[in-house]
């Protein structure tokens, strides 16, 4: 076997080793170097995996299977990379790179063991995307959660401790639900391998079938807590708003891990058809997602601080994805994946940007802005004549431009990728010429249309208000001292969303192939179960 077969394992092993080494060294610069090197390798490996699974062309969904321990699939532990896993890996690596670069400017000194926790977090996320069996999904969830507890508390302080207490409790309870669901499924099927489960589930009947559906429902609850679906999402806004900005930017992917798990298991375990009732049922996702979007949009409008605004954007993004997945239509899901990538990039950039904008501001500024809004602007007319032509410092100009881009991306305005994503979803929803579609547009399509447009509108209002308050109303504010390494990650994330716009054709083709692969899980199942173990001595002895 060639070395490319080992690529699939790298996104898990490299951060593990780098995180462990970072524990041992004491020099902050060595730690930083380890973190950068590991993140760069993970990014390269993720892109490699993406090319590997996409390189198979149109001949069905390609998957890469890695047998850890070299046992054949239902017995040993497998890592599986398909198109969905590959795109999530790349997204994680990009976010990790941006967040780490940003953190190196100053945030990594705010507490101990930042780099180790960061690498373990990346390892847990990558592992959750790659793993092919349920129990390892649990283990990787725990790895990423354990690291996220540490990272959420990074920098300490009363607000973080207070929010962290809730975050840890909710996620511990969700982990117990996860275990109950997994063990119920094991109890009736006798296997934990996802591909093997997909084979065995159709053979179940009677009481076993009921138990399995109960297990799947409990498991689904655990995922939806992570994905922050209403009413399981009250922990999110406080935690994300309190977390340090680079950490919050990385956390933008955490809810998407829950979405990923729902998408993967619902479609794999129900054999590609619309999920039957009980097995992560579609209608519940649709309704729950729409309510989540509503809660997120209302929360965004009500936010007094920009960090909370960013946190509620996470809810809107997560809810939109869940609702659209609940529609259970491959073409629409392709658009949803595009939206997922685009909105995650936008939210991460916004979390980083907010910190720069808030820097040098005092709480009194916020109070002043709110008071001005509430009680009219009594002395706004007394602007001095000299103020009219005042020069805007370059830093403020850059930050303002970044803010406008974030707002357009998150609200879904043209020409950025947020608009294209929503357009892709809506055009698929209302495509009456599609095979199998009737002449009438179903009510759920109108519901989703209203949700997407109204939430975009609400986000736009909230963002504009925050922008006016932060960039215009406080004209005599001190210009924040911003380093280039703090602007670069934001520019990278927003630049990627520009690239998504410019390269929308190939990206949408990839997303459609991903969605079609998800709705035809036979190839996944066959690929995993038929993966041959390596012969002894081959490939340097795995």
């Amino acid at each position: 076997m060639s070395w490319t077969d080992h690529l699939i394992m790298l996104p898990v092993v490299v951060p593990l080793v780098a995180g462990g080494l970072a524990l041992l060294v004491d020099d902050a610069r060595v730690k930083a170097a380890l973190g950068i090197a590991s993140t760069a390798i993970v990014l390269a490996a993720a892109i490699g995996v993406l090319r590997l699974v996409d390189g198979a062309g149109a001949g069905g969904p390609a998957i890469g299977v890695y047998l850890l321990g070299n046992w054949p699939a239902p017995f040993g532990i497998v890592l599986v990379a398909d198109r969905l896993a590959a795109v999530m890996l790349v997204l994680t690596a990009v976010l990790a790179g941006a967040a780490l670069t940003f953190a190196l400017a100053r945030w990594h000194r705010a507490g101990s063991h930042f780099h180790s926790l960061f690498q373990f977090q990346v390892m847990g996320i990558n592992g959750a995307f790659l793993t092919g069996d349920l129990f390892n999904l649990f283990v990787f969830f725990e790895v990423l959660l354990a690291a996220s507890y540490g990272l959420a508390l990074h920098g300490s302080g009363v607000a973080r401790i207070r929010a962290g207490l809730h975050y840890v409790t909710v996620n511990l309870a969700a982990s117990f639900l996860f275990l109950i669901g997994v063990s119920l499924m094991y109890g009736v099927t006798g296997t934990l391998n996802m591909a093997d489960l997909a084979v065995r589930i159709p053979r179940l009947a009677g009481g076993d079938r009921v138990l399995l559906e109960v297990g799947a429902a409990v498991l689904g609850l655990a995922f939806l807590v992570k994905a922050a679906m209403w009413p399981l999402n009250f922990w999110l806004a406080g935690t994300y708003a309190a977390a340090s900005p680079p950490v919050a930017a990385l956390f933008a992917i955490l809810t998407k891990v829950g979405v990923y798990a729902v998408l993967r298991l619902a479609l794999l375990l129900s054999g590609g058809d619309a999920p039957p009732a009980g097995l992560l049922a579609g209608e519940w996702l649709l309704v729950g997602g729409v309510v989540t979007v509503a809660v997120g949009a209302i929360g965004a409008i009500a936010s007094q601080t920009m960090t909370r605004l960013a946190a509620f954007n996470v809810l809107v993004s997560s809810g939109t994805t869940l609702a659209v997945i609940g529609r259970a239509d491959p073409v629409v899901v392709g658009g949803a994946l595009f939206y997922l990538v685009s909105s995650t990039l936008g939210i991460a950039a916004f979390f980083l940007l907010v910190e720069l904008l808030e820097r040098g501001r005092t709480p009194a500024d916020d109070m002043l802005a709110v008071t001005l809004e509430a009680f009219g602007e009594a002395d706004r007319d007394e602007v001095d004549a000299e103020d009219v032509g005042v020069a805007v410092p370059v830093t403020m100009g850059l930050l303002g431009a970044g803010f406008v881009c974030c707002a357009m991306l998150l609200a879904g305005l043209p020409p950025l990728s947020g608009f294209l994503a929503k357009f892709a979803i809506l055009s698929a929803l209302f495509d009456v010429r599609a095979p199998g579609a009737g002449t009438r547009v179903p009510a759920t399509a109108w519901l989703l249309l209203a949700t997407l447009l109204l939430s975009g509108f609400a986000i736009l209002i909230a963002m504009m208000r925050a922008g006016v308050r932060s960039l215009w109303l406080t004209a005599d504010r001190e210009v924040p001292r911003v380093r280039l390494t703090e602007l670069a990650p934001i520019a990278l994330l927003l630049g990627l969303s520009f690239t998504l716009t410019a390269q929308a054709g190939p990206v949408m083709r990839y997303m459609q192939a991903t969605a079609e692969g998800l709705y035809a899980p036979d190839a996944y199942v066959r690929g995993v179960l038929a993966a041959p173990p390596a012969a002894p001595g081959e490939g340097g002895g795995r």
Binding site: A146, Y149, I161, R162, L165, L172, S183, Y186
Partner: protein, 114 residues
């Protein structure tokens, strides 16, 4: 035997959920511990309850499914115990930090208003 184990799991879960919903951090951590015991027993039970059946083969003997217990849930329980143990320890640290920083052991970090 099944009834006893099932009742045990039920009592542990009920007490755990009740305690987890209480307002003091110490009650919450005890509740979470009880819940983790309940979940561990539940996983164990999913491998079917057998008396006097070892989960490993005798040396030299051939496998006879009727004489052995399912080893996989036991391995899962082991992992789950380790993870929940570590998480409880972490929660304990957080609890103490919250007590020190906020001056109260209420889960919201402040006493409910009058």
């Amino acid at each position: 035997m099944e009834v006893v184990v099932a009742a045990g799991i039920g009592v542990l879960t009920a007490s755990g959920v009740y305690l987890m919903l209480r307002p003091r951090t110490f009650q919450v951590i005890i509740g979470l511990s009880l819940l983790s015991y309940a979940v561990n027993l539940f996983i164990f039970g999913m491998g079917r309850l057998r008396t006097g059946a070892p989960p490993i083969l005798d040396p030299g003997g051939t496998g006879d499914l009727a004489r052995y217990a399912d080893p996989l849930p036991q391995a899962l329980v082991l992992t789950a115990i380790v993870i929940s143990f570590a998480m409880t320890a972490l929660f304990l640290v957080l609890l103490l930090a919250a007590r020190g920083l906020t001056g109260t052991d209420h889960v919201d970090g402040r006493e409910p208003g009058p």
